[in-house]
Amino acid sequence: MTFLQIVEGPLFYFAAAVFVLAAAWRVFGLIRMGRKRDISPPKGSAAAGFVKGNLRHFIPRGMFARRTWIHIIGGYSFHIGLFVLFFFGAFHIDFIKQYLGISWTPLPRWGFILVSEIAFAGLIVLWVRRISDPVMRLISDWDDHIGTWLTFLVMLTGCLALQQSHDVLRGIHMLFVDIWLIYFPFSRLMHAFTFFLSRGHTGATYGRKGMNP
């Protein structure tokens, strides 16, 4: 069995299983935790607050927008870029088709390159801000740095293998994908699945009190 066959075969199946099961277990655990019953009479809709809380946090508040524009641009560039790269990269669609049998129209190569650059720029900006801002540096721990670097390495090794001329480069990319999948559920990378719960929780709490979340 070659290195590529291992990282795309048994190791990938193991990593994917850990990712799905552990991520589902964490999300389910959070939902199951519930919250203390609020016995005060509701002044507004908690459900509407949940939705509003999620939507409103996509746009920064006016007073913070000027101070955090780097964070906002970097954050959106990286997250949207990564989403598009993953779901619309031709190689990824081929890979998904290989396992799930479904496919859709991929981005053209130039589009993939352009989106990669936007995503890389965003991720680098986010990380250098993390080390350059004293407050960010103080509240960041190893989990933040490992999560960022693992994601960066997954993206970087993927782009280094773009020529598709050496199996070992694809194998290295897949190895980092496997590590990333295993690390994901036990780290803050889980915010990809939990951000809507935390925003929704705050929104619902405020919404029930009749306040703007």
């Binding site: 390159i113 890389f120 680098i124 350059s132 280094l160 020529q163 050496h166």
Partner: protein, 357 residues
């Protein structure tokens, strides 16, 4: 008894085979030499016969100079400057600029490129061994001044990150064949070069973005001033003595303009190499690879000096880019004019009070 007298000689099979092989070799050698001997000497009974082939034209080589002929064949009229800058010299049948480019790349750039960064590292090591770390006079005061805001710091580290990736991948592309292939093998070099090429092409456009960001965030304060002459005459204070300077000293300003100007050259030549169909004349691409490699070596070499002064070479420097704040004593020692501008206090008087020389 008879058996004893007529006992057959015992010859091993191995000896028999070896003897036979030796005989065969000698026969072959004899045969070969005979063949060659026949090919250079006509047999004794040989006669010259009329084979019906007519003699060729006389003076086939001609009377013209062969070197002139081939020079014109390659490059047209060598005295016509206009022809030298045109795509293909008029009258020329072939162009040899590609060969010239290859020779420059192989014999100069690839041969010496690695020595410049190594030389700078050597000089810095020597300096550090002799002079040691440049300490803050009077030590840390505990009071800090804001030096770079968050946007400037992020712009700086963004450029640094992109530059490191481009530098490593670029060096592998440029020097992989002479430095990696002989030691790690052609296969490893091929893998590294393929990966580096993709990475370099991908991060190249981000360098242009970083360059623009750096320019707009740092251009203010980086214009040269008269006070910079003192910095030059005192060799930046690296060999002793105090040197006055404003927000940025001569060394920092020079580094800034090297990054910007060489960065523009790198960006333009990089775009041409990334999109070669933008130009019709191949020689622009050949020139681009030479300028791109030369610019990269210059930037990487000077970068080591920048990293040295910003980290282990000068106490307190890194704080400006990590925290955005610098110690007051650091500011008085290295940027006294800026200190006075920011605080409104005299750097010399307050230094005297605190016993800083």
């Amino acid at each position: 008894m008879q058996d004893t007298l007529f006992k057959p000689a015992r010859i091993s099979v191995g000896k028999l085979v070896a003897g036979f092989a030796l005989l065969l070799v000698l026969l072959m050698l004899f045969g070969v030499t005979q063949t060659y001997a026949q090919s250079v000497r006509a047999p004794g009974n040989a006669v010259n016969l009329d084979d019906g082939i007519e003699d060729g034209p006389s003076n086939a080589l001609g009377d013209d100079s062969q070197s002139d002929f081939w020079r014109n064949f390659r490059g047209g009229d060598p005295n016509d400057i206009k022809q030298m800058i045109s795509a293909l010299p008029e009258g020329a049948v072939m162009t040899t600029t590609g060969e010239h480019w290859r020779l420059i790349r192989e014999n100069y750039i690839r041969k010496y490129a690695g020595w410049f960064p190594l030389g700078v590292i050597g000089i810095l090591l020597l300096y550090h061994l002799i002079k040691g770390k440049m300490r803050i006079p009077g030590g840390y005061s505990g009071n800090t001044l804001p030096r770079f805001n968050i946007n400037q710091r992020v712009a700086h580290w963004f450029m640094a990150g992109v530059f490191i990736i481009l530098g490593i991948t670029g060096l592998i592309i440029l020097l992989g064949r002479p430095l990696i292939a002989p030691y790690l093998g052609k296969e490893v070099n091929s893998i590294l070069t393929s990966a580096s090429m993709q990475g370099h092409n991908l991060f190249g456009p981000l360098f242009i973005l970083a360059l623009l960001w750096m320019f707009f965030k740092f251009v203010r304060g980086n214009f040269f001033q008269i006070v910079d002459l003192k910095w030059i005459f005192k060799l930046g204070g690296f060999f002793g003595g105090h040197v006055s300077s404003s927000q940025f000293n001569f060394g920092e300003k020079t580094w800034f303009w090297i990054v910007i100007l060489v960065g523009i050259v790198m960006s333009v030549t990089g775009i041409l190499l990334l999109f070669p169909w933008l130009v019709d004349d191949l020689r622009w691409l050949q020139l681009s690879t030479i300028l791109h490699a030369g610019g990269a070596i210059l930037l990487i070499s000077v970068l080591f000096g920048h990293i040295y002064v910003g980290t282990v070479g000068m106490e307190g420097s890194l704080d400006s880019m990590l925290k955005g704040q610098v110690d007051e004593n650091w500011a008085k020692a290295h940027h006294d004019l800026w200190y006075e501008e920011v605080t409104g206090k005299s750097a010399t008087e307050s230094a005297d009070k605190e016993g800083i020389s």
